[in-house]
Symmetry: C2
Subunit: 250 residues, 2 copies
DNA sequence: CGACTTTTTGAGTCTAGTCAAAACATGTGG
DNA sequence: CCACATGTTTTGACTAGACTCAAAAAGTCG
């Protein structure tokens, strides 16, 4: 039985994206701003600065002064916390339109996590100061930001629940489903996840180790629920993964 | 060596607190509102309704329609998520001035967690609709709420890190320190935590079991770092607990 | 003083981690 | 286009931290 070769096709990051006024389009599509009139968006656009970040490069580090709010214009960004033991914990993977970094000069001055480009990325950033100005000018934007943060809090609490109560197998199944629905690409046979992301990343997402993740993934593959390769996974049977989770602990 | 009997003294919940205009004082002291002029606070006060909740009673349940924002006026409230396996996960313990529940009709219609009174409590609540009105009228309040939610998100991510990378012993030490700084009462010999909270609660906070928590606490007590009893803990040596955490994994 | 709940202790088991090494992909340069 | 260098994934053997089940001990309250 021959396995398919890597189905990974890296997305094309046109260097021009960040340096032209294509930005205006991106910013205008963001949930925070899209309801605003073109004039306001244009004004906001001028407050953003763009940065191209090659894959694997750090955008900022835990403990750095939190002076900017960032937006992913293109590419993937992972948010990571490092434990004292050296173990890396993957908090979230972000893509186009997602925000990260800090909102304000008020709510703490240091970043509490590290942001790393997972692929070549284009990042837009605005100083916390300027963003504060936008919030002051547009109460409805503040409101949307509040909703976005609330949603992220709820997601984080869901992760807490899973880390507390699920087995590794269940956490991995859940992480795959989460990634699939957020970043998956529908293929004929299933949903392809190609961030790219390694066993290492999946381990850091689920509070586990590469070896254990590998073993669990092999089991899933044997069952025919997924197909895996280097830095990609295709989910063939979402239902079975779901059953794993809903099934009582014993 | 005789151990002290329970140092627990339950705080007195005067039924009058909730039913009189003492509420106005409480609301006026909240971080969200305290900067507002008395007239505005008085107006806001009228939108709140008070509820007395006896200990161990549920205030709302996961999945219930999220129609109110709640404030703890007096007492302690725990936020809990139930896993499919039946295991209970303790997300947070709240006390005077803390908010819980949902902010808006927008950000999802169902509660994602269960709220249970840990002690006899007095809860103030406001309909999401009315709270939306306040946010619309007072952009600065929205801003403060945003900061509060952001802070809670950061805290939640810290828990995720701990569940992912700490041993049970480290998680328990960390939980004790967190509770001490938030809800602890300074006594001569140390910091008393008397929520009241059981081994069960501590297990639900740390993704562990009562038995394991008991064993770890006994170890801590043998070392002379804590004194424990039924539903209370006194921390005698915070530094030693801290060392446990900062000390590399092995 | 009992009745009840919470906490502790013990013995046995198992999930998941550790360490080490082999197998496999992928991209590079000859 | 093949052979090699590099990083990733898999496999194996072993270990240990934490869970389970069961029962005894200790606190607390009426």
């Amino acid at each position: 039985m021959t396995r398919p070769k890597s189905p990974v096709r890296l997305e094309w990051v046109d260097p021009a994206v960040c340096s032209t006024d294509y930005r205006l389009k991106i910013i205008g599509r963001l949930p925070f701003f899209k309801h605003l009139p073109p004039a306001a968006i244009s004004k906001i656009n001028n407050l953003f600065h763009d940065v191209d970040v090659p894959a694997d490069e750090r955008i900022y580090h835990e403990g750095d002064e939190a002076a900017y709010l960032h937006l992913v214009a293109m590419g993937k960004v992972k948010l990571v916390r490092n434990a004292e033991s050296g173990r890396e914990v993957l908090l979230d993977i972000l893509h186009g339109g997602d925000y990260f970094g800090s909102f304000s000069t008020l709510s703490g001055r240091a970043h509490t996590e590290t942001a790393i480009a997972q692929t070549d990325s284009c990042i837009l950033r605005i100083s916390s100061r300027d963003f504060d100005g936008i919030l002051a000018d547009h109460p409805d934007v503040t409101r949307k930001v509040l909703d976005a943060v609330s949603r992220r809090l709820t997601e984080s609490q869901e992760i807490v629940k899973q880390l507390s109560a699920y087995t590794v197998e269940q956490r991995i199944a859940s992480a795959l489903m989460r990634l699939a629905s957020k970043l998956g690409e529908s293929r004929g046979e299933g949903v392809l996840i190609q961030l790219p992301f390694s066993r290492q990343d999946l381990a850091a997402m689920t509070g586990s180790t590469t070896e254990t993740v590998s073993r669990v993934m092999s089991r899933f593959a044997d069952e025919g629920w997924v197909k895996t390769g280097r830095k990609w996974v295709t989910i063939l049977d979402m239902k079975k993964l779901e059953e794993l989770i809903s099934k009582p602990y014993r």
